[in-house]
Structures are given as structure tokens and as C-alpha cells.
Symmetry: C2
Subunit: 223 residues, 2 copies
């Protein structure tokens, strides 16, 4: 695929207008990719939504694949920062327990997708699509595995008896459940009832904390 963002060094700084155009295009691409997946969203649809001529999409985004990667990487960087900050604060405030570490991973994502800019909502659905499709493995590894490994190490420190396999599979179960809140809220509603995001957050934390603890061989709450 070629994930290198490395185009040739820029001649001069882009104008404000150019930057704005670029963001508009990325926003449109993000929305349409999240609604119709990679192949279902055409460059022309994206241009139409961004209200720019088709040529500009290629100009700012490069090939469709690099555009896709750029869209995902854009907010992944911010997300990684938010999670790292939350974890740092948590660690600084004394003894971290499992629930708090988990919360540092899932809450920044859920807060951004539900209380951040409207565009974050689309981003959440997009990540769910990417995570369920091995075609985008390279993107997942580049954008999300570094942060994931930090949290895996942290959990392993809290629960040194757990096998790496148990931690890894529990972690992926947690990520899938978290993403379901974005991508499958319609199904939760269809099977039960509408619930506000705070309630869902609590259900998710309860579910994952207990699930982790069960898989890690000893109770972790209150350690």
C-alpha cells in the first residue's frame, strides 16, 4: 500500500485558504468513507460533498488509498495524545487499578466521538470499519498499535500473573465492544432501547473490567 506520508518537502507554506480547503476535503472523505466504506465512496462523491472540483481531491489527498490513510491518521494522532495524557494523569495520582487504566483507553475515544466535533462521530464509525477488515491491517498497526502496546504493558504490570495471550484477546474484545457503541448503536437500540452515552459508558466499563478480571485469573478490582 505504501504508508509513507513523505511527499517531497514543501516549497513554501500553504496559504490559510489552501489549508481550509484541505481540511474540508478530509472532512468530506471521512464522512463518506465512514458511511460507505472505502470502495463505496467515490472521489467524485467526496468532491461533491466538499463542494470542490474533483481535481482538488487528488491534488490535496493524493491517491485514494493515501487519502484514506491520511483521514485515519489525522485524528489517530490526537487520540493517541489524549489517551497518553489520561494514562499519565492516572499513573501520577497513585495506585492505578484495572478499571481506571481501561477507562483511560476507552473514555477519550467515547468522549470525542460523542461530545467532540460532529466529525468525530463519523471517525468512530470509520475506525470500526477499519478494525473489522484485514485489508487495513497496515493502517491499524501504524496508527493504533503503539498506543495499544502501552496499555497492554500497563495492564501486564498491574496483573503480572496473566498470560500475554489472555491480555491480548481481552484487549481486542474490549476494543470491539467499544467500537460497537459507535458502529452498532442502532442494533443496541433495536434489541433493547435507546440509552444515553453515559449509561453505555458505564455498561462498557463494567463489562470490560469484569471480563478482563475473569480472564486474568484473579480479581483485579481494588488491587
Amino acid at each position: 500500500m505504501g504508508l509513507q506520508t513523505g511527499k517531497k518537502p514543501r516549497q513554501r507554506a500553504p496559504s490559510k485558504r489552501a489549508l481550509k480547503t484541505r481540511e474540508t476535503i478530509l472532512d468530506a472523505a471521512e464522512y463518506l468513507f465512514s458511511e460507505r466504506s472505502f470502495d463505496g465512496a467515490s472521489i467524485r462523491d467526496i468532491a461533491a460533498r466538499a463542494e470542490v472540483p474533483v481535481g482538488l481531491v487528488s491534488h490535496h489527498g493524493g491517491s485514494k488509498e493515501t487519502l484514506f490513510f491520511t483521514v485515519i491518521a489525522r485524528r489517530a494522532d490526537e487520540l493517541a495524545r489524549l489517551r497518553a495524557e489520561a494514562l499519565e494523569t492516572c499513573l501520577a495520582s497513585g495506585q492505578p487499578d484495572l478499571r481506571r487504566v481501561i477507562a483511560c483507553f476507552v473514555l477519550p475515544f467515547l468522549h470525542q466521538t460523542h461530545h467532540g466535533q460532529p466529525q468525530w462521530r463519523a471517525y468512530g464509525r470509520l475506525i470500526a470499519i477499519v478494525s473489522a477488515d484485514e485489508r487495513w491491517r497496515e493502517i491499524t498497526q501504524a496508527c493504533f498499535d503503539p498506543t495499544a502496546n502501552i496499555f497492554l504493558d500497563q495492564i501486564a504490570r498491574i496483573l503480572p500473573d496473566a498470560s500475554r495471550g489472555a491480555i491480548g484477546s481481552s484487549f481486542v474484545f474490549m476494543v470491539s465492544s467499544m467500537l460497537a457503541i459507535c458502529a452498532s448503536s442502532w442494533r443496541i437500540e433495536a434489541l433493547s432501547a435507546h440509552q444515553d452515552i453515559e449509561t453505555l459508558e458505564e455498561h462498557l466499563l463494567d463489562f470490560c473490567e469484569a471480563g478482563f478480571a475473569a480472564n486474568l485469573g484473579r480479581m483485579a478490582r481494588g488491587v
Copy 2:
């Protein structure tokens, strides 16, 4: 979308050869849809993989959307039957607990996708794609919600104190985690290590049983 399978009533029974052709096409479609999602798999790719002329795909499968629906419905019927049988056996053998009811839902799926015909593997990945994409909501509701509601009711009977919302969200978390074993095994391996399916099944059951119990307000193990 139009989910009606109702074409005009058949004039005469199709020949054995025609049925075989049809299955070959559905198998090819199943595989390619699971690898590249709906828009990424073309009718021509499907015809090439099935080694039939392009025209035959439309002839047997109808439009691309009805072909997609047919592919998913085909094994959904069998899956629903396997789950219903497992549940029936479980209920007949005395007091059902939470873990056994959960197992009746997830194990038929995991057994088919990992020990059934090779095609079931593709089907598992395909369902994961469908579940993360609201475009296919209609398919999910037609193919999987009836069975889901049977299990939701069963869980509600075992744990009458739980709110429908807590049960519904826990159920969707469980489904997402189950599907992750099919669609995101590469990620589990990348973050930890390869684990055989029996180990993953146990991790999943432990994770979900504890997660459900935590969300349902009282311990369910051993009820």
C-alpha cells in the same frame, strides 16, 4: 433495498447441474465479499473465481444486492437452527445458567467458522463486516435479530432483575467480541501471540460471562 426473495414461482425444478452452479457462484461471492466487502468485490471477480461466465452470476444471483443478501441468508438459516438446537438441549437438561446460555449462542458460530467447511471461515468474516455497517441493518434484522431476541428473552428469564438496556448492550458487546475472533484474529496475534481456537473460546466465554454478570447487577455464576 428490497429483501424479498420472492421471484416469480419456478416453472420446473432446477437440474442438479444448475444447483451446483448456483452454489459455486454463492461460494465465490461469499469469499470475495468477505475479503473485499460489498463494493470492493465485483461481479466479474466473482464470476472469475467461480469459473463461470459473467452472465451466469446475474442469472442465478439477481442484482448485486440480492446476491449479497442471498449469500448471508444462506448460512444464517443453518446457524439459527444450530443455536436453537443447542439452547433446546441446554434447557432440557435442567437449570440453565448464564454461561451455558451464552455458550449456546457463541459456540455454534465459532465451531462452524473454525471446524466447519472452509467456506464458513469466509462467512464469519463477512458477518463481522455486515455487523459494523449500518447499511446492512436490514439484513442483520432479517437474518439475526429473531435468534438474538430468543436469547435476550432467555437471559432476561435467568436474571429478572436486569434492565433490558443492560442486557441489550451486553449482548451487543458479546456479539462484537465473538466476531472479533473471526475478523480480528490477526490483531490478537499481533498484540500478543497465536492462540488456538479452544483457548480463544474459553477466553471469550470467561470474558462475556463475567461482563454480563457485572452488568446485570448480581453474580450469575452458579445460579
